[in-house]
């Protein structure tokens, strides 16, 4: 079920009504409702994969208790390894099986040997990377004795499958979200209204910016060899806003929806395109994933405690794994490597040289622009079908003789480009204002809310709506 679909527009009020009116004051009943609603929400795509979520929930619920109960370190470790093995095994099989077999076969051809890799026709369960990481954090935290396992199976199952953030995050930690299933809920006007405002802002980013930009991006990337430099730059910049509007839009709708039921989800984006450097960018982009990698990969690897070289190595590993998390393609790995390479000098500068970043206004502006430009170029790898395509795309920006301009190919595309640009300008204008106010969340005034809603109604891509990009991860 898509957040921007008519099905969800009917589903959400129905669940809201049952939650607050029929089951008011009945915490257990509300949790049962959320669990059923979440399974319906997920099963709307493919009910067959519901079994995976149920199995994963059951396994981690049992293993969590076992790890906590067990006194022997060896056995505790074994339970944790079982959790890691099964969860990452599912993820590996569904997401990476074909990638590994094909890469393996290609590697052999380099040495003069060749064999045919048998490719399986595997369907990727929607959101598997998100809920796998969420359940993994639960067992790891229990193993680290940072969390006590729950004995409330209903709450745990509801936590794993909580529909607002099930398929594309934010990736929640059990310590933050799970306790919210234990406590009685009271409807709070301010929380619910802020939730509605976030949902509208998220829909604006998704339907006005991302889905309109997607039309141009798809056209430019499909024929990048025939596009002029200007068209390639338009395609690249539009993709930067497409993926931001798409993913942060989803996060906003997820956080807003959760608030309607009295739940608090973590902030996932903090105006990332206003970042002053790549390090700053990663503090603002997909925060729930970057903090997950910090806590469950970077720190276990030793963090920065084992010296400078080890710290740099660890950072680099985190970026590569982060890229690989996104998908089974070398393009994502290269994207991670690029960010790693850009991050390392900044890490050295701030961590070891203790050099302060200039706060002069013109310098901040230039740094922001430079960071955005670098991030845009890296996005080309993320979007391209292959590394070769990405390299050629970037090379063509600097030296192509092609004259095609997809965004001006017809009046329709020109109009779509114009709508996307208007949306992007409104987004940037709004974010700059709230950044200056030091807010991390957009708070729409009543008038602004009405204007944004009208823009969604008349500028939104209702007819050509696209699925959320991060569903594939």
């Amino acid at each position: 079920m898509l957040f921007n679909s008519i099905e969800f527009a009917l589903f959400l009020p129905l669940v809201f009504f049952l939650f607050w009116f029929v089951l008011k004051g009945n915490r257990k009943g509300q949790n049962i409702l959320l669990l059923i609603a979440s399974y319906i929400f997920y099963g709307w795509w493919d009910w067959r994969f519901l079994g995976l979520i149920v199995f994963s929930s059951l396994l981690d619920y049992v293993l969590g208790i076992q790890i906590h109960k067990e006194q022997l370190a060896r056995k505790r470790k074994m339970y944790l390894l079982l959790s890691l093995l099964v969860n990452l095994g599912f993820l590996g099989f569904f997401k990476y099986f074909n990638f590994f077999t094909e890469s393996f076969a290609e590697a052999f051809t380099l040495f003069g040997q060749s064999f045919e890799a048998s490719r399986l026709n595997i369907i990727l369960p929607v959101g598997i990377s998100f809920y796998t990481f969420q359940t993994l954090s639960y067992t790891i935290d229990i193993y680290r004795k940072q969390l006590t396992p729950t004995k409330d199976a209903l709450s745990f199952f509801s936590f794993v499958s909580f529909f607002p953030q099930l398929v594309a995050g934010p990736i929640e930690r059990a310590a933050h979200l799970l306790p919210q299933f234990y406590v009685p809920r009271k409807f709070k006007y301010s929380v619910a209204t802020s939730g509605v405002k976030l949902i509208i802002w998220g829909l604006f980013k998704k339907m006005v910016i991302a889905d309109n930009a997607a039309v141009i991006v798809d056209g430019v990337f499909a024929d990048y060899g025939g596009q002029s430099s200007v068209s390639l730059i338009v395609g690249m910049v539009f993709f930067a806003f497409q993926i931001y509007g798409d993913f942060s839009g989803y996060s906003d709708i997820a956080i807003g929806t959760a608030r309607l039921f009295g739940f608090d989800l973590m902030t996932n984006f903090k105006f990332p395109y206003l970042s002053k450097n790549v390090s700053d960018f990663w503090k603002r982009w997909h925060i729930s994933l970057s903090t997950w990698f910090r806590d469950y990969l970077y720190i276990p690897l030793g963090g920065s405690k084992q010296g400078e070289v080890a710290a740099l190595r660890n950072i680099f590993i985190v970026f590569v794994v982060s890229g690989f998390w996104h998908g089974a393609n070398w393009t994502f790995i290269i994207w991670g490597v690029i960010h790693g390479l850009l991050y390392v000098p900044l890490f050295i500068q701030t961590k070891f040289l203790k050099k302060e970043v200039s706060k002069a206004r013109w310098r901040v502006f230039l740094n922001t622009l430079l960071t955005f430009t670098i991030v845009c170029f890296a996005w080309v790898f993320f979007r391209a079908d292959s590394v070769n395509d990405a390299v050629n795309y970037i090379a063509n920006i600097f030296g192509t003789t092609a004259t095609g301009n997809f965004f001006m190919q017809s009046k329709k595309y020109l109009l779509i480009s114009l709508i996307a640009i208007i949306g992007i300008l409104i987004l940037l204008f709004t974010e700059i204002i709230f950044e200056r106010k030091k807010h991390i969340e957009i708070q729409l005034s009543p008038r602004y809310l009405v204007m944004i809603s009208l823009l969604i109604l008349f500028f939104g891509a209702f007819k050509n709506q696209a699925s959320f990009i991060y569903f594939q991860f």
């Binding site: 008519i6 099905e7 009917l10 607050w20 409807f187 006007y189 619910a192 209204t193 509605v196 329709k412 109009l415 779509i416 009543p446 809310l449 009405v450 809603s453 009208l454 109604l457 008349f458 500028f459 939104g460 209702f462 007819k463």
Partner: protein, 302 residues
């Protein structure tokens, strides 16, 4: 909770009202314009003057017969009402719109594509939204409610609340309405007689020899009968016209009664006159229109 629901309702209503005001405005300008064919017919053509013939069809009807050329040659008054990317049910809607709007014609040239000889799709046409300014008319509303499927039916619901249609088809309806508010006489890629032509440039180099495939067909689509029947009820003589194909020779073995047939499926034998396998280019249109004139002259003598 009460306060929250009250505010939600208030904002919802405000948006609904504002949205509908904008949509009604857009609908007004589009209805008064000549941008799409349904509005063009009503606003640019004098209903008191009888037409000699009209051309109905898809893009093949739109780009094959040049009513300006035919009229110059035969001293007739014709109008091309074809719309690209449409099929028989939209042609039927257009014919209903033509008669219900008070127009008459002696002949109705129905340009038939080979994929419509026996069947028509049962879903709404891609360009049927162009009739939305006339959504309050019973025949248009019936068309929308019959063919629009799914939970969301913006065109059907737009009968009295155009917000749905103008929001869903914002690129196709809302933005053009802004355009025509500033330029009321603007037309969407057709001339003052409803014609459009593809350019002469040939997309790819082709050999001069065309390998033509002969195919036998029967025209049995019940919608063709409905079109013929509607035309006859309005004293309009139906002519089934088959425009040229680059590589096909369609032999019609059976067709509905009471209709003339002009089959030009294999009339053009030079690649240079085609824009693509199913459309002639500007030069091809000139030749095809001339061939049509000859046959139409004979039919009129009958």
């Amino acid at each position: 909770m009460k306060k929250f629901l009250a505010k939600l309702l208030a904002y919802g209503l405000l948006l609904f009202v504002l949205g509908n005001i904008l949509a009604f405005g857009a609908n007004y300008f589009l209805k008064k314009s000549t941008f799409y064919k349904p509005s063009f017919l009503v606003n640019a053509i004098d209903s008191n003057k009888k037409l000699d013939y009209i051309v109905l069809g898809s893009s093949r009807g739109l780009t094959t017969l040049d009513t300006n050329q035919i009229d110059d040659s035969l001293s007739t008054k014709g109008l091309n009402l074809s719309m690209d990317d449409t099929d028989l049910k939209t042609h039927l809607l257009m014919l209903q719109h033509f008669f219900k709007s008070g127009y008459t014609a002696d002949y109705c040239v129905l340009t038939l594509d080979d994929q419509h000889f026996t069947l028509s799709s049962t879903s709404l046409g891609n360009n049927d939204y162009r009739f939305m300014p006339f959504g309050t008319q019973e025949y248009v509303h019936d068309h929308f409610s019959t063919y629009e499927i799914g939970i969301v039916r913006p065109l059907t619901w737009s009968n009295y609340l155009p917000l749905f249609g103008y929001s869903y088809y914002n690129l196709e309806l809302f933005f053009p309405s802004i355009n025509v508010a500033l330029q009321p006489n603007k037309r969407n890629r057709f001339d003052d007689k409803g014609n459009y032509s593809y350019p002469n440039s040939i997309k790819e180099k082709r050999s001069d020899t065309i390998l033509v495939k002969s195919e036998k067909h029967r025209i049995t689509n019940r919608m063709v009968n409905e079109l013929i029947s509607l035309a006859q009820q309005n004293k309009c003589i139906p002519i089934i016209y088959i425009a040229p194909y680059q590589k096909k020779n369609l032999v019609i073995t059976s067709l509905p009664d009471n209709a003339y047939l002009i089959n030009h499926s294999n009339a053009i034998k030079t690649n240079g006159y085609f824009y693509d396998p199913i459309h002639v280019n500007k030069a091809g249109r000139e030749i095809t229109s001339s061939l049509f004139e000859d046959e139409f002259r004979e039919i009129r003598k009958d």
